[in-house]
């Protein structure tokens, strides 16, 4: 810093000195006077007679050259640290990504064949321009069928392209995608391959050259399902299948749904599948298990015609309240969480007061009544227990819960006081249960809306989740093939009727001058300018010194 200031001051001083010197300079003019023979001996010029002249430096090329040299030196000091982007030579590298997703098998010739022809044209054009190219299949194909096993989204394409971008054999300047999908509005590159590749590929992926192939083809697909669990009022469970139709309506549709035991289900109401772009068919179901739905159509793309529907339970677990807690704020909370039924239901979650070991046989949450008196608030917590997730342990201590003298059979402690008494305990297995303290103020008088009860509420909800965690999900839906194998990412494949957009002209793909990421400092260029100016100054000075100026 000090050196920089010193250099700056030195150059500035030289600048001032130069200016003063030229302004006070007595310019000796070399002239020819025709009356020379009549001139007497002239007086020698005296320095004191030299006057300040602004015009003298302005007229002198030497002054300007020296002034520019000093200015350049000043600029070097001022612009130290300034970087300029380096410009590389024009480059031309085209990475051609050909979509090998299942929908590319549609059509005669297939869309994949059309895509390959387009890729060949691009490669020929690039080669003729002296560039390099590489054709990449996305997703990677298996030798057996030529197309990928699963569908692919535009974003998933970039996952595959990330690997290709790491290929250092060519400097990629263009990304061309040949697909049956239209160009998406946003095309992001995955960072799965590392930040460096993402940074390089983002510029390409920001505006890829998108070639769409394949004429629109009509297709119908099973796009998903909904499940409505059995209601408390006795209404049965319902399974609804969603059918989407793309392109021209295809009247030859039939839907067959089979139950877990192979029985064919009948829809609740007859539905005309030949009408409309979307349809929903509802079936009554009565038992959990795996259902199969198969759509029969005349279209070519059949991967999206088969669904496997796994129903875990026909209804949610209700709550059964003991008589001690059937009224008051806890009962109101329970009714918001699940249906409240009588204690006779086997699949209910029982909520009641802890009395003794014998009353803990059922699935449920058992509350230990009353506050501890004179106990040490210091607690020991099992920190990885889901029961304590998001629970403020300090506030739990402040509740001074009353602990059990001993751990009930089959339970393990989650939180306990310093005196060894159990505050919270859980039991896993077929009949999961939780022991926990009642809210402060008692079951009847506790105001659960109060902020101080938040810790207890969190623990209670955690307890309800714990005793329900062995329940299967109500519905799981997936596309499957004929053998029952699961198929992923078919959502982008079903719509084979998308209209063709306009493709870029091949002649528009030209080499580009890339502005590289690398940056070089500016000062060497300024130093070069200063050297050139110095050479010019020497040249002019030598010429003038041999000529007119003294």
């Amino acid at each position: 810093m000090l050196l920089g200031l010193l250099a700056f001051a030195t150059v500035g001083l030289f600048l001032v000195v130069l200016l003063v010197k030229y302004m006070r300079r007595s310019k000796v003019r070399h002239v020819e006077i025709s009356a020379l023979q009549f001139l007497p001996e002239l007086s020698e010029a005296r320095q004191s007679r030299v006057r300040w002249q602004v015009s003298t430096p302005l007229r002198s090329p030497l002054f300007w050259l020296r002034f520019l040299i000093l200015l350049t030196l000043l600029a070097i000091l001022l612009l130290d640290g300034v970087l300029v982007p380096t410009k590389n030579a024009p480059a031309f590298g085209v990475l051609v990504a050909v979509d090998h997703s299942p929908s590319m098998a549609v059509g005669r010739p297939t869309r994949l064949q059309l895509a390959n022809e387009m890729a060949d044209k691009i490669v020929q054009h690039v080669t003729a321009q002296g560039g390099c190219s590489r054709v990449v299949a996305v997703p990677h194909t298996t030798p057996s069928n030529g197309v990928g096993d699963a569908g692919v989204s535009p974003i998933a394409m970039m996952h595959a392209l990330s690997a290709a971008l790491e290929d250092g054999s060519c400097h990629w300047t263009h990304l061309a995608v040949v697909s049956d999908l239209p160009k998406p509005p946003f095309f992001a590159l995955s960072d799965a391959r590392g930040q460096e590749v993402v940074a390089e590929g983002e510029a390409l992926a920001a505006d890829p050259l998108w070639f769409q192939v394949g004429e629109p083809e009509a297709n119908s697909a099973l796009t998903g399902a909904d499940f409505k669990a059995a209601g408390l009022g006795g209404d049965g469970a319902r399974l609804s299948l969603n059918i989407a139709r793309f392109g021209d309506a295809n009247s030859d549709l039939s839907l067959v749904v089979t139950g877990p035991k192979g029985q064919i289900l009948s829809p609740d109401a007859p539905v005309d599948l030949g009408k409309g772009q979307e349809a929903s068919v509802s079936y009554a179901v009565s038992e959990p298990g795996t259902y199969q739905a198969e759509l029969e159509e005349t279209g070519e793309f059949a991967l999206d015609n088969r669904l496997a529907l796994s129903i875990g339970a026909m209804s949610v677990l209700p709550i059964a309240l003991d008589s001690d807690v059937s009224a008051g704020p806890l009962a109101n909370l329970a009714r918001q969480m699940a249906p409240v039924v009588g204690a006779e239901r086997d699949d209910a979650v029982r909520i009641g007061l802890y009395s003794d070991q014998d009353g803990l046989g059922e699935r449920g949450i058992y509350l230990v009544r009353g506050e501890a008196q004179g106990v040490n608030a210091l607690g020991y917590f099992q920190k990885d227990s889901p029961l304590l997730e998001a629970v403020d342990l300090d506030l739990l201590e402040a509740l001074k819960p009353r602990g059990l003298e001993r751990l009930p059979e089959g339970f393990r402690s989650v939180a306990a006081g310093a005196d060894g008494k159990v505050w919270i305990a859980v039991r896993a297995g077929a009949h999961p249960a939780v022991l926990m303290p009642e809210p402060a103020g008692g079951l009847v008088n506790a105001n659960l809306a109060d902020a101080q009860h938040l810790t207890w509420l969190v623990a209670f909800i955690n307890a309800y989740r714990f005793v329900n965690q062995d329940r299967q999900p109500l519905l799981d839906v997936s596309h499957v093939d004929a053998s029952g194998a699961r198929l992923e990412n078919l959502a982008y494949e079903s719509d084979t009727a998308k209209p063709l957009g306009s493709n870029p002209e091949l002649d528009d793909i030209q080499p580009v001058s890339m502005i590289g990421e690398a940056q070089s400092p500016l000062w060497p260029w300024l130093a070069l300018v200063a050297i050139i100016l110095l050479v010019a100054e020497r040249f002019v000075a030598l010429r003038l010194s041999g000529g007119r100026t003294a």
Binding site: S26, V28, R29, V31, I33, S34, A35, L36, Q37, S43
Partner: protein, 323 residues
């Protein structure tokens, strides 16, 4: 060397100046460019006293008797008139060339060539013959060729190019007049464009040439280019080192002319000019002093040239004799 710069006059301005010059003379109009010579035509000119050698057949007895002097006879003289021819002689000596290398000055040689070009334009318009020559090239072997009309431009270009690109002879060049000036017609007008810085034999040779050019009915116009005002301004304002001019040696160093220095130089120059003026003060010789402006620079010189050329035309009596 810088090239010869264009004449400050455009042709239209030059024509305008000619018209104004004609109007300045009472005898302007047709015949302005005629010059008289003694001849044997029937054109009566005047009565004059008889001198020995006059043809006695031309004595006008009746007029002599009316004149009333028995010892003095009057003779009738006759004359002829013819279109004069113009010879422009430019001094190409070293003092005329001083300052040629300086783009900010106009040398006397450059100004002289501007005058030649302007005179050539006038001669072309008036259909009179004009010839160009430099003092050095007039030798006994050379003949000055007079041209008219469209040939004038070509002749001037050849002349100016040769004079501009040539170098002044070392030392004091002599004037080789030869017999060329003697062969000039009686009706000829010779314009000398020079400075008065020639000395000794060169000065005598120039004076002899002027005398030859003004012999008889011939007319000589000496246009003296006086560059001292410009050079004095340079010496007064600038610190200078002085380059060699002709026989005068270089004075290298840094000089600043003082007032007394300039006064002394001016006195010496004036004495030189007075000597010339006295020598040329004779019949048939017109002396015109063309003073350069008192500030250097092309623009000042060009502006002064436009003003002074008009005066020069009047003084040279090309459009008629004064009085």
């Amino acid at each position: 060397m810088i090239s010869l710069r264009p004449n400050p006059f455009d042709p239209a301005t030059l024509d305008d100046i000619c018209v104004k010059a004609r109007k300045a003379f009472a005898t302007s109009g047709s015949g302005a460019f005629l010059r008289r010579k003694l001849g044997q035509s029937l054109e009566y000119r005047e009565h004059r006293s008889y001198v020995f050698g006059d043809d006695v057949r031309h004595i006008d007895w009746r007029a002599s008797l009316r004149h009333g002097r028995p010892d003095e006879f009057l003779v009738r003289s006759f004359e002829a008139e013819e279109q004069f021819q113009l010879l422009v002689i430019v001094d190409g000596s070293a003092t005329m060339r001083a300052g040629m290398e300086d783009p900010h000055r106009v040398s006397k040689l450059e100004a002289a060539l501007w005058i030649c070009e302007a005179l050539g334009h006038i001669a072309g318009n008036e259909a009179i013959g004009i010839g160009f020559a430099s003092l050095g090239e007039l030798s006994s072997r050379d003949r000055v060729s007079f041209v008219q009309g469209g040939q004038i431009g070509e002749a001037f270009a050849h002349f100016s190019q040769g004079l501009w690109s040539s170098k002044a002879p070392k030392g004091r060049e002599e004037v080789s007049i030869g017999a060329e000036l003697s062969r000039l017609k009686q009706s000829s007008v010779t314009i000398f464009i020079t400075d008065f810085y020639r000395t000794n034999t060169a000065q005598a040779a120039l004076e002899e040439a002027v005398q030859l050019a003004s012999r008889g009915y011939r007319q000589a116009v000496v246009c003296e280019l006086n560059s001292w005002p410009t050079e004095r301004a340079i010496l007064r304002d600038d610190i200078v080192s002085l380059g060699a001019v002709g026989a005068a040696a270089e004075r290298s160093g840094a000089f600043q002319a003082s007032g007394p220095d300039l006064t002394a130089a001016e006195d010496a120059i004036q004495a030189q000019r007075d000597g010339y003026a006295q020598a040329l003060n004779r019949g048939g010789v017109v002396h015109f002093a063309w003073d350069f402006p008192d500030r250097p620079g092309f623009d000042a010189m060009a502006e002064g040239f436009r003003l002074r050329f008009h005066d020069f035309l009047l003084a040279s009596e090309l459009f008629g004799r004064v009085g």
